[in-house]
Amino acid sequence: MRNLVYNYEEAVAVVLFGIGFVTLLFHRNLIKKIIGMNIMDTGVFLFLASMGYVKGGSAPIYAENADFYVNPVPAGLVLTGIVVSVSVTAIMLSLAVRLHQRYGTLNLDEIYRIAREKINER
């Protein structure tokens, strides 16, 4: 566990991933689930970016005064990841709007109950 003190950045990222994971599983309101999904994603990206960081390194842009640079690959991957998580949030939020228009609530248990009733009394 002593090593966890050194890798504090990645430990926090995993804790954030855990918080997002728990929110996604436990909250019944769809908006809370989407927030949990976002927190989970940002946790994963923090984990990825903190891997490439080198103490004392400067940003990966050529400059005269920079002696050595941080690893540029995680920065590129996280940029892709951020755009993916925006697209996912946009789609899930539009699904939430449509569900609310049709069922009147965003609590998934309620929606299942209403959906099941609607089937039976066709």
Binding site: L24, V44, M51, R102, I119
Partner: protein, 498 residues
């Protein structure tokens, strides 16, 4: 002949480009463009297969000006080309066969958006089959997730929106775990291209450091992709998703999308982790166990269903269990059986979904068995196609289902006694269960209630549906009777895979 080398790259970029074109075309023109685009994809994949068979080895195609460890590349051999060909053909046939249901279910102004998503889905599938870089695999896996969610939510009845939400949440959870697995791989090996990762993993294996992170990574990657492809404990989204979506979408979703994820898993297992890795054997045994549970649970739940669409969805959960059983068995025989069943199921399931949909159409649009009585007399073509699909699922000798069950039992021979015994028992039990619910359905669609004279529907509108269905049935029979050349191709492809 050397120009054929560019075909995989051209097929991926062409279907991406035709998605952009579809966004500018109106509905009807988008449909014609998509069908033409899928036909071209099938031709290009056939050309790649021809090229790789003549060449006899797998080709790495550099995407851009920079070589292996720095740039990005795709790699194709016999196995990838054969899978791409089957995927492209099934996509073409599902789109042509299901065009009627798209016009019926999708609001008129959004039909071109539907075909746009079909093109993107085709591009993502091909990219997953061909990619040699693990992060490119993640990006196109994300495109596959979003497009399959898109074609699911396009049918504007409440239940599909709810099913789409549930499908997206579980699928995005799976790709979150998969991304975490990839990141740990990158952190430990320092590479993103699969062959370089494999070398780094071999060194690590010898020196024995990072053992715990590697086992966690294998677990995350296998768990993430198992969640996405609907293995046993995570199959609860399947009946609602396939049951309520447009028949074309449920055909494509069940036939192709989950196969894309499994093919990526097989590629990561053989090419990155390496089959002799002790951690992988543990992971494969767990998948084997869940595969067996999936087969039994899927078949038992399918029997209890009252709607034909939900019954077929549960049976596809069972078939996913078959493929994971094949992966769990391992060895070239096990993987060959798994890939053969992957191709068989990709051909059979869309056939079942589309023929069930046309049977439903002639019986008042209700999937309940009570109304489907005598539907096969009303629509002879669809009845015949449903019978072909059902026969193959049960495993009647002429059809491909029998060959894949035979391959599974042959693959199970060389293993520990309890593994062989459990595979053979599960195969027998699941065949009986399949027979139970498929024969029941076939009896029901062919026996019309007491002496009611069934009036046959006109054949005109059915033409495209029956035509594409019969081509799929023909592919099924070819896979069944001519399985030896296909199997040889798979085995040679597997040998060149890593």
């Amino acid at each position: 002949m050397d120009f054929f080398r560019n075909f995989p790259f051209i097929s991926i970029v062409f279907s991406l480009f035709s998605a952009v074109v579809c966004s500018l075309l109106p509905g009807k023109a988008a449909r014609i463009w998509t069908i033409a685009a899928e036909a071209i994809l099938a031709l290009l994949s056939a050309g790649t297969l021809l090229y790789t068979v003549i060449l006899g080895e797998s080709v790495t195609y550099r995407m851009g000006h920079f070589g292996a460890p720095w740039g990005n590349e795709i790699r194709f051999g016999m196995l990838e080309a054969l899978t791409a060909l089957v995927f492209a053909l099934v996509l073409l046939l599902s789109v042509t066969g299901g065009a009627r249901y798209v016009i019926r279910d999708v609001p008129p102004k959004k039909i071109n958006l539907y075909y746009l998503l079909i093109n993107l889905l085709g591009a993502a599938l091909l990219a997953l089959v061909y990619t040699n870089d693990i992060f490119t695999g993640y990006v196109f896996l994300e495109i596959l997730t979003l497009t399959s969610g898109g074609i699911l939510m396009i049918r504007e009845i409440g239940r599909t929106t709810l099913a789409a939400t549930r499908y997206m949440i579980l699928n995005l959870l799976g790709s979150g775990l998969f991304l975490l697995g990839i990141i740990l791989f990158y952190d430990v090996t320092g590479h993103l291209l699969m062959p370089d990762m494999h070398e780094a993993l071999l060194e690590l294996g010898k020196s024995g450091e990072y053992a715990l992170p590697l086992s966690v990574t294998t677990g995350l990657v296998c768990g993430g992709l198992a969640i996405k492809s609907g293995l046993f404990p995570f199959h609860t989204w399947m009946p609602d998703t396939y049951g309520f979506a447009t028949p074309t979408s449920s055909a494509i979703l069940s036939g192709l999308v989950s196969k894309g994820y499994i093919f990526l898993l097989i590629k990561i297992m053989t090419r990155v982790i390496g089959l002799d890795n002790p951690i992988l054997t543990v992971a494969r045994n767990i998948l084997f166990l869940f595969g067996l549970l999936g087969i039994v649970a899927g078949s038992v739940l399918a029997i209890r269903q009252n709607s034909v669409m939900r019954m077929i969805s549960y049976s596809s959960a069972a078939q996913i269990g078959y493929i994971y059983m094949g992966i769990g068995l391992g060895g070239t025989a096990g993987f060959a059986a798994a890939i053969f069943h992957l191709l068989t199921h990709a051909v059979t399931k869309p056939l079942l979904f589309l023929s069930a949909a046309s049977l439903m159409e002639v019986s008042g649009d209700s999937p309940v068995f009570h109304d489907l009585q005598g539907a096969a007399h009303r629509n002879r073509g669809a009845g015949f196609l449903f019978t072909v699909g059902a026969m193959s699922m049960i495993g009647i000798p002429i059809f491909a289902g029998f060959t894949s069950k035979l391959l599974f039992s042959l693959a199970a021979i060389g293993h520990l006694p309890f593994k062989t015994f459990s595979v053979l028992v599960i195969l027998a039990v699941s065949t009986i269960l399949n027979t139970l619910y498929f024969i029941r359905t076939m009896i029901r669609i062919y026996t019309s209630p007491e002496g009611k004279k069934e009036d046959r529907t006109p054949f005109g509108p059915q033409l495209s549906c029956v035509l594409s269905g019969s081509v799929m049935a023909a592919m099924n029979v070819i896979l069944g009777l001519q399985s030896q050349p296909v199997l040889a191709l798979i085995e040679r492809g597997l040998a060149l895979f890593s």
